[in-house]
Amino acid sequence: MNSLFIISQADPRPMYLQLMEQICQRIATADWPAGFELPSIRALAADVRVSVITVKRAYLELERQGVIVTRQGKGSFVAEGADVGLRLREQELEDHLKSVAALSLLLGVTPEQLDARVRVLRDELTREKS
C-alpha cells in the first residue's frame, strides 16, 4: 500500500483540494517537471483509493489554474511555465489573509486599522533588508 498521495479523512479540507495540493508539491519540487505526464485519472484513483470523480475534479481545477494541460485522448501534462512555486506562495498568502480577516472581525479591528498595521510591518521589513 505505497500510494503516491495520501488523502486524510482527519483533514477538514475536501479531498480534491488535498489532492491538488499534493500534486502541486510534486510540481514545485520539480519531481514532476514541465511536460511530465500525470497518471491517468482512473490509475491515480485506484492508487490513492479515492473516487474517480474526486481525482477528476482535482485535475479540472488544476487545469483551470493553468498548472496542468489535458490533451484529449493523450492525457494530462504539467504545463510549461506553470510557476507553481509562485502559485503556492499566492495560496499561502490567501490562507493567511483569510485568518487575518477572521481574527480582525473577531477582535473588531477595522480594515483601515489593519491597513495601517500592515504598513508598519512592511516598513520594518524593508528597513531590515536595506
Partner: protein, 298 residues
C-alpha cells in the same frame, strides 16, 4: 456514452410495515455508487429488487439492459453479488467453493483469486462453517471479485471487517473501476468508506430516495456556518437550511444549499459569519435524517 448498468424508475413495493416509493436510481459504467441510509430505510429491499430476488409491485428495473426480475438469468451472468445474508456450504472448504464457481463461470480469474486469498488473509482449506463473520464476508468478496463481473452489487460488504481488511477491500473495489466499463454499487454504514470511494451517492430514508447525485456536488452543497448574532436580531430562515442551533449569541447554521453568496445574506441580516466548515458524509447523514424526522413530527 454507453447504456447505464442499473436503471430503476418509479419502483414501488409494499409490505405491512414498510413501503418503497418511487425509487429512481441510475448507475453508469465506470462508477462506484455508495448507497446509504438508516436501518430499515429500504437499502436491502432495493438491492433485492434490482437483483431480481423479489419482484417490485410497480416500476421498471433494468440491470445491464435486462428487465428484472424477468431476465435475471441473463443479467446475473455478469453480476457479482454479495450480501450479509448469503451463506456458503458449511461442510465444504473455501477451495471447494472456488473450484465450484470456476467450473460454472467462464470469466473466473484463478490468478486473481490466488492473489485475493493472500490479500484477504484467507485459508483455502478451511471449512466455511468455521469462518468468523468477517472471514465469511471476505470469502464471499473473493468469490464475487474473481469472477471479474461487469457489475458488483454489495450489500453491507464492510460489516464485520477489521480496518486492514476494509482497506484491502477498498483497494480492490477501486481496481474494479480502473476499467471504465465496470461498476460497483455498495450499501454501507461506514460513511467514511462511502465518502472515500463513491462517485455517486444515493441516500434512502423511509423507503424514498432523498438524494441521488454526484458525490462532489453533494458534499459541496452542505456547510456548517458559525455565526455571531447580536442580541435582538434573529436570523432569516433561508431555503436549504436544515438546522440552526443557538447558544447565547452564537448560532450554528447547517445548510444543504450552500452558495458563495449565502454568508452575505446573513451578514446583511446583522450576523457575522466567523467560520464556514465543510461537513463529512457522516455529519451530513445525521443532519439529513434528523431534519427529515423533525419535519415528519411537525
Amino acid at each position: 456514452m454507453s447504456a447505464p448498468l442499473i436503471e430503476l424508475e418509479g419502483v414501488e413495493k409494499s409490505y405491512p410495515y414498510f413501503r418503497l416509493e418511487g425509487v429512481r436510481l441510475r448507475l453508469e459504467p465506470g462508477q462506484v455508487m455508495g448507497f446509504i441510509g438508516p436501518n430499515g430505510a429500504g437499502k436491502s429491499t432495493t438491492i433485492r429488487i434490482l437483483m431480481g430476488l423479489i419482484a417490485q409491485d410497480r416500476g421498471e428495473v433494468r440491470v445491464m439492459g435486462c428487465a428484472m426480475p424477468r431476465e435475471q438469468a441473463v443479467a446475473k451472468r455478469d453480476i457479482g453479488f454479495v450480501s450479509e445474508e448469503m451463506r456458503l456450504y458449511g461442510m465444504a472448504s473455501l477451495d471447494w467453493h472456488m473450484r465450484f464457481v470456476a467450473s460454472v463461470v467462464p470469466s473466473w480469474d484463478s490468478a486473481y483469486a490466488e492473489l485475493l486469498l493472500k490479500r484477504f488473509d484467507l485459508h483455502r482449506d478451511q471449512r466455511t462453517k468455521t469462518l468468523s463473520h468477517g472471514q465469511r464476508m471476505k470469502a464471499m468478496m473473493l468469490l464475487a471479485l474473481a469472477r471479474r463481473p461487469r457489475l458488483l452489487v454489495l450489500d453491507e460488504p464492510m460489516t464485520g471487517l477489521d480496518p486492514v481488511a476494509r482497506q484491502e477491500l477498498l483497494s480492490e473495489l477501486m481496481q474494479v473501476v480502473s476499467d471504465e466499463q465496470r461498476s460497483v454499487l455498495f450499501s454501507s454504514h461506514h460513511t467514511q468508506d462511502v465518502e472515500l470511494i463513491s462517485d455517486q451517492i444515493a441516500f434512502i430514508d423511509r423507503g424514498r430516495i432523498i438524494e441521488s447525485t454526484d458525490k462532489e456536488v453533494f458534499l459541496d452543497r452542505w456547510r456548517r456556518m458559525h455565526a455571531e448574532v447580536p442580541s435582538g436580531k434573529s436570523l432569516p430562515w433561508l431555503p436549504g437550511v436544515v438546522d440552526v442551533t443557538s447558544s447565547g449569541r452564537v448560532a450554528v447554521i447547517t445548510t444543504k444549499a450552500f452558495t458563495n453568496d449565502l454568508p452575505a445574506f446573513y451578514e446583511q441580516a446583522g450576523a457575522t459569519i466567523r467560520e464556514i466548515q465543510h461537513m463529512t458524509l457522516e455529519e451530513i447523514f445525521v443532519a439529513e435524517v434528523m431534519s427529515s424526522r423533525k419535519e415528519n413530527h411537525a
